[in-house]
Symmetry: C2
Subunit: 394 residues, 2 copies
Amino acid sequence: MNIIKNTMGSHRLMNRINTLKILNLLRENISISRIELSRMTKLDAKTITNIVRVLFKQDLIEEKGFNESSGGRPSEKLSIKTSSNFCIGVDLGATHVTCAMVDMRGSVLYKDECEVSLNESKESVIKKIIFLIEKCSRNTKKKYIRGIGMGLPGLFDRKKGVSVHAANLPKWKNVPVRNILSNKFDLPVYFEDCSRVMALGEMWYGKCKNIKDFIFLDIGYGIGCGIVNNSELQSGATNSIGEIGHIKVELNGKPCGCGSSGCLETVSSGMAIAREYKRRSGLNGLSRLTAKDVLTRAYSGDATAKRIVSESGKYLGLAISHIINILNPDIVVVGGKLSKSGSVLLKPMKDAVEKYSYSGSLKGLKIVNSELGDDAGVLGASALVLRNIFELEV
Amino acid sequence: MNIIKNTMGSHRLMNRINTLKILNLLRENISISRIELSRMTKLDAKTITNIVRVLFKQDLIEEKGFNESSGGRPSEKLSIKTSSNFCIGVDLGATHVTCAMVDMRGSVLYKDECEVSLNESKESVIKKIIFLIEKCSRNTKKKYIRGIGMGLPGLFDRKKGVSVHAANLPKWKNVPVRNILSNKFDLPVYFEDCSRVMALGEMWYGKCKNIKDFIFLDIGYGIGCGIVNNSELQSGATNSIGEIGHIKVELNGKPCGCGSSGCLETVSSGMAIAREYKRRSGLNGLSRLTAKDVLTRAYSGDATAKRIVSESGKYLGLAISHIINILNPDIVVVGGKLSKSGSVLLKPMKDAVEKYSYSGSLKGLKIVNSELGDDAGVLGASALVLRNIFELEV
């Protein structure tokens, strides 16, 4: 029931709605004059002037040149101020932590990353995060940074700001991320699941800017996804939405890290591809062989590698068909470290999607690769900060 | 991005939000005085008086007794006026069309139904719908009826108001339902998918009144579902959300009416249960044997019936586990004609849900039977009318 539940109609709300409308118009366009804003919003000149004055005060917008004059005084163009509004995006994955300084239009100004390993202590991971944030923010005035957004693997407690656990980083447990980072940097800290922030990245800066219903599929060491329904990033009843890595694709399948068996992650994740290749080809000693290496071998004609990767693709496609039949998205965006693996994985995946999806939901459906690539995570994480500036909290 | 996209902040919007707040408070409570309304909404007395005056004019509310006096003049209590606000709910299924007159609190005042058969012409089905609406509305003054809501099987064109097709009613094709009914009855006509209206029924009148994320599973002749995410009934990109009947549960399974094979409907629907029992027991002549008969036989110890129903339950549970892993709902409500079939179907279903769902999403998850029973469809359909009175259209 979509009535605005937690608020009443008030002048404050009215003003907030109109301010956001203007702010978003300025974000979606390069620059707009006051007169154009008035025409676009149907707000009177005085209201526009008042709102614009406040946005100037908040240092969120700036003047940027003039409209060509059509007789009288040329009108000044307004623009989002990118030179003094930055967000820090942090993306913690199973193998890397990445950090970037991002401006308000989603340009990455600086980015760096560190590897993390399976057995790394939480203290060591936190140290790396702090080191990267310091490195990224070295050249930016503190007062220009609007906040830190972070993508977290596994389970987290949104209220307390605690990262509870991450299946692929076993020592990363009960880490009070929000307190640690906000104490250290004295900035607002926001977070979200690491696959969901990638979906958010697509929504703010990628292929899904005006798409109401889409899925971001994150194929990497593990498999996750972000779900956007009706233009809202969903989180589910207990913050566990999108656990597609644990969809059963084989009823009598291999045991999974989650305690169950036959999960998608046991056949289609980077972890599974590498493990299965090592097992079948007797290369168990090669502990550093990764899924990417297996893909390379598949491309150079290694039959075992090809078979394993193709099987992985098929099951990925089956799981995607379940999502399509259940959710009827406009677009499935394929991202994550393995999304650039090309046809050897993606062709069998797409074939399986065709074969197993309900035809009515396939009509018009697009399966596309993420254009944001490795930046999807940090961009989406930085958008967590922007949401608090550009969206209505009701 | 949740900014109110299609509207600007205005006095009109402010007033609409406050009016809806009051209207919904009166719907959620039996009666409230003006003073209490003012306290609950923090709106001043004058605003309350103005809004209440308009609601009286619209005949939506009435006075209902007095508060006990604590000294001064006792205050009048206000209430939703149920005696002059009615909605007609129509539920078109594969085997029946049902129609009800429903008051604003979800009481069914009159209900009736007709059977429809697989080969019935669309003209005949439309005749039955009109007959039922006339019968249901016989004792209600026309001016008290707020509209007609309808649950439709299969595909429909929301904009044009046309029911495009229904797999289980092959002759029901391209029916301009909205025009036919609004011309005939001169009332606003709303519609929605027949499983989704059942979810809406649960949301307005059933077990899911304050539940943000839930699934309504409609097990009957076919299998459908309604999905509520973040308190919104979802419809998907091409209005095909919730096609769980066509989730692949057997990769090399039986052919399905949708043109594919191995779909959930080929093993777990009422249609499939009846067909499979007839096949295995050599009773193909018994064309009128239904899934309910098979269930009765299962309860009386018929081993073949038991095996078939148990298998159906298992695959239902597998499909539900996919939904749980993808969507992480609070509650799965099981409804539809077969939902009252008891343990012989539901026990294996629940066992499979336990076995195949991600443990993090099972925590706190409830699987419950719909309390609305056979009324879920007509109640949900009637709520389609109420949405236009009680919700903000943005």
